[in-house]
């Protein structure tokens, strides 16, 4: 292999790609060639680095210097200063919020400092399209160990001893699942990798598939040996074309090198995989629905038992694990169960990947040891809430999860604690909300999502969620009535108990947790007809204070409804009947002026009715 004095690791995850990483990489390659440095410096396109907020990202190795928010125009300066003269370019470095001094080395940045990378150990450092790079970082060493020096029972014992539990959300012990499947007599047996990551706000599975596809593949081959499976299916969500492409490349390379096929590593063991692209149905993430989808049917869940380990694909024993679960397996085999179980808590071992998004300073993907406190994730790694706003809640577990308020910030993140608090681990989406987020609106958002995604097979889910969403829609419209909350709770309990699959059984969680922790906010909507977070449109009025307005015409020009009238240097007025409350006037009014205010409740109604002084407390 050729030696280079420096590597430029260009993050090519979806976040960075969306803000120009591919153009940046091309510009870097051109500039390096132009300066005759091609034999000295190598540009590598890596998978997602995780710090999406700061994209596009370039990491210079071996110096460990982290460059962020780079533009194509910055490339000549970067190459000249850092790569030719050898000094980091201050103005492209990361500066922590509220500080002035940049932090040049990635390892010293708060966002990265508290993370513990097991599944994402190769993120941002290898080219996921080159199996050699994976192998160079101990890739397939676990497989070699499993195939040459372990029996299937040894492998299962190791995975069971590690304490690994399913990362798809429910947390079933992986070793136990494999044991059950191994005991089944029917042949053939199948493996499935569930990559139908549908939770909005969660993108860790995509990131693993994109950044380190061979880790997933290696985990599956080890699992196949353990349970005696001969064929695997990797089901990838429709919206993830890059993940499909990377995985297809990985499967091809593994086949060429004898890591898949009829005689894996010369041991006589045979296993092959097929990639299946999803077709866009959230419910297909449910394991029995996933099976139906692979079989070419509509993704309808079915009653369990029998469980897939007894009767899965085409009625044969099938082990279904999530992407992140599979990607944990190689490290467990290579480094041993004792090492893995030294991470985490009593009941939740190892690490978990979370996507930290929403009203948070450092949006991105983080891998942390189980048991870490929520506060350390939100404030330590995430850097807190931007714009000096106040933390309100963190939503964990997507449409199946719940919203936890500030008093739960010291909760350790493990399966049991989250479930007790009314949320769930889910796939690991963590959406931070601040005081400008309305919890009733969020609850309705999730219910509309599950209502739309319900397959319609069972009545409690199909009709119950619809009824619940109907009540919530009335509440946010200011038409709630006393008794609505009790009715919501009653329906929630029916939907939870009566639904066939996980989608319906967990769909009420966002409503139940917001009712539990933010009941006052619901009551404000119903009793005072007010939205305290100033989100629900029907309950909000935009008002221009004639004494503050300087008559700059900015809002008049930008109002998409054409609802604002006024002349230069004269106070502007909103025609409330024409206003559809998009908030553009509020956003464009210069910070020095701040003449536009959002009002709710009695004051809002007074302003809307044109009663002067409606804005004054």
């Amino acid at each position: 292999m050729k030696q280079y004095r420096s590597h430029l690791l260009v993050c090519s995850g979806t976040g960075c790609a969306s803000c120009g990483a591919f153009d940046l990489r091309e510009a870097l390659e051109k500039e390096i060639a132009r300066r005759g440095l091609r034999d000295e410096i190598l540009v590598v396109a890596t998978g997602c680095n995780g710090f999406c907020e700061r994209g596009p990202i370039v990491l210079v190795q071996p110096d460990g210097v982290f460059y962020q928010r780079l533009r194509v125009e910055d490339v000549p300066a970067l190459v000249e200063e850092h790569l030719v003269k050898g000094r980091p370019v201050q103005r492209f470095l990361y500066v922590p919020p509220a500080e002035k001094k940049p932090v040049p080395r990635m390892a010293d940045i708060e966002f990265f400092k508290h993370q513990r990378l097991v599944v994402l150990r190769n993120r941002g450092r290898i080219d996921p399209e080159k199996v050699e790079e994976y192998i160079a970082y101990d890739g397939y060493a676990g497989l070699a160990k499993a195939l040459t020096s372990m029996t299937p029972d040894d492998i299962i014992a190791e995975v069971a001893a590690s304490g690994l539990r399913g990362r798809g959300g429910a947390g079933f012990p992986t070793g136990l699942k494999w044991t059950f499947c191994r005991r089944e007599q029917a042949r053939p047996k199948y493996l499935v990798c569930n990559g139908d990551e549908g939770d909005p706000g969660a993108f860790m599975d995509r990131s693993v598939l994109e950044a380190d596809p061979h880790a997933v593949l290696e985990g599956m081959i080890i699992g196949a040996k353990a349970v005696g499976a001969e064929k695997g299916f990797i089901y990838i969500r429709d919206e993830y074309p890059l993940a499909v492409r990377r995985m297809a490349i990985a499967v091809g390379q593994a086949g060429e090198r004898g890591l898949l096929g009829n005689d894996i590593l010369g041991t006589g063991f045979a296993f092959d995989v097929e990639i299946v692209r999803g077709a866009g149905a959230f419910v297909s993430g449910e394991e029995t629905a996933l099976i139906a989808s692979i079989e070419g049917q509509r993704a309808f869940p079915r009653q369990r038992p029998p469980y897939p380990i007894q009767s899965g694909l085409w009625g044969k024993p099938t082990v279904i694990n999530n992407v992140e679960t599979w990607a944990n397996v190689p490290s467990i085999i290579r480094r041993g169960a004792a090492w893995f179980s030294s991470l985490g808590t009593e009941t939740s071992k190892g690490t978990k990947i979370f996507s930290l998004v929403g009203k948070i300073s450092n949006t991105g993907l983080v891998e942390v040891p189980m048991g870490i406190r929520l506060r350390d994730i939100v404030y330590g790694i995430g850097g807190g809430i931007p714009g000096g706003r106040k933390f309100k809640a963190v939503q964990i577990g997507g449409p199946s999860g719940g919203c936890l308020p500030e008093e739960h910030l010291d909760l350790p993140v493990d399966y049991e604690s989250l479930t007790r608090a009314g949320a769930m681990m889910g796939s690991g989406g963590m959406i931070v909300m601040d005081e400008d987020t309305c919890m009733v609106d969020v609850a309705l958002y999730f219910l509309r999502f599950t209502q739309e995604e319900s397959c319609g097979k069972c009545a409690p889910c199909r009709i119950g969620i619809r009824r619940m969403a109907g009540i919530l829609a009335r509440i946010v419209a200011g038409e709630g009535v006393p008794g609505d909350l009790e009715r919501l709770e009653e329906l929630a309990s029916l939907v939870k108990r009566g639904s066939l699959c996980g989608l319906g059984q967990t769909a009420p969680n966002p409503v139940l947790t917001t009712l539990r922790y933010f009941r006052d906010e619901y009551l404000a909507h119903i009793v005072e007809r007010a939205c305290p977070a100033l989100v629900c449109k029907n309950l909000v009025t935009y008002f221009i204070d004639p004494e503050k307005c300087v008559g700059c015409l900015l809002c008049v020009k930008n109002c998409p409804a054409g609802a604002i009238s006024g002349e230069h240097k004269k106070a502007h007025v909103i025609d409330q009947a024409a206003c559809f409350k998009c908030g553009t006037c509020f956003n464009v009014c210069p910070p020095k002026v701040r003449a536009v205010s959002k009002l709710t409740g009695e004051r809002g109604r007074a302003a809307a009715a044109g009663r002067a002084g409606g804005d004054r407390p």
Binding site: S18, F203, V357, C582
Partner: protein
């Protein structure tokens, strides 16, 4: 035209070894080639795989990625993920609906624009996010949206 489409279906079916269980990937591949699924193509596929047309229809109406209408020349996809939602994604979608004069999921009568919504694109750092003709536009505002639409209309005007 009908002939060449029929042979396209057969080609894809053959590539999948004429397996009935592969009906979903087969439909996807056909859609990737043709842009959308015409009634003729669906009938043809049912015959080729020897499955009832009603079963094909049940699949293409169940899964969201199948299109039974052609898309417009320009596709605007507004992300409706949770991160986008808490940063105002719904307001952006409404703005596109008003500007294009079509509800989400529809194509304008002149075949120029299709407006779509997606549950999450996983580029949450850029929320609220809109993808127009394959290009991602992050931290979207109404004003930015107008600029994007204007540039597309201008580019189209030039081509003519």
């Amino acid at each position: 035209m009908g002939k060449s489409k029929a042979s396209a279906v057969r080609q894809v079916v053959d590539r999948y070894g004429r397996r009935k269980r592969s009906v979903i990937p087969i439909l996807r591949d056909i859609q990737d080639r043709e842009g959308w699924l015409t009634p003729a193509v669906l009938d043809e596929l049912a015959r080729e795989l020897d499955i009832p047309p009603s079963q094909v229809m049940s699949l293409v109406t169940f899964y969201k990625s199948f299109r039974l209408e052609p898309r417009g020349r320009h596709v605007c996809t507004v992300c409706m993920g949770t991160a986008c939602h808490v940063r105002g994604g719904a307001i952006i979608l409404e703005h596109f609906e008003r500007r294009l004069g079509i509800p989400a999921g529809k194509t304008s009568a002149d075949g120029r624009f299709t407006l779509e919504r997606v549950n999450c694109l996983g580029a949450c750092a850029l929320a609220p996010l809109v993808v127009v003709d394959g290009r991602a536009y992050g931290l979207m505002t109404e004003i930015k949206a107008d600029a994007v639409l204007k540039s597309i209309k201008a580019a189209e005007g030039k081509k003519r």
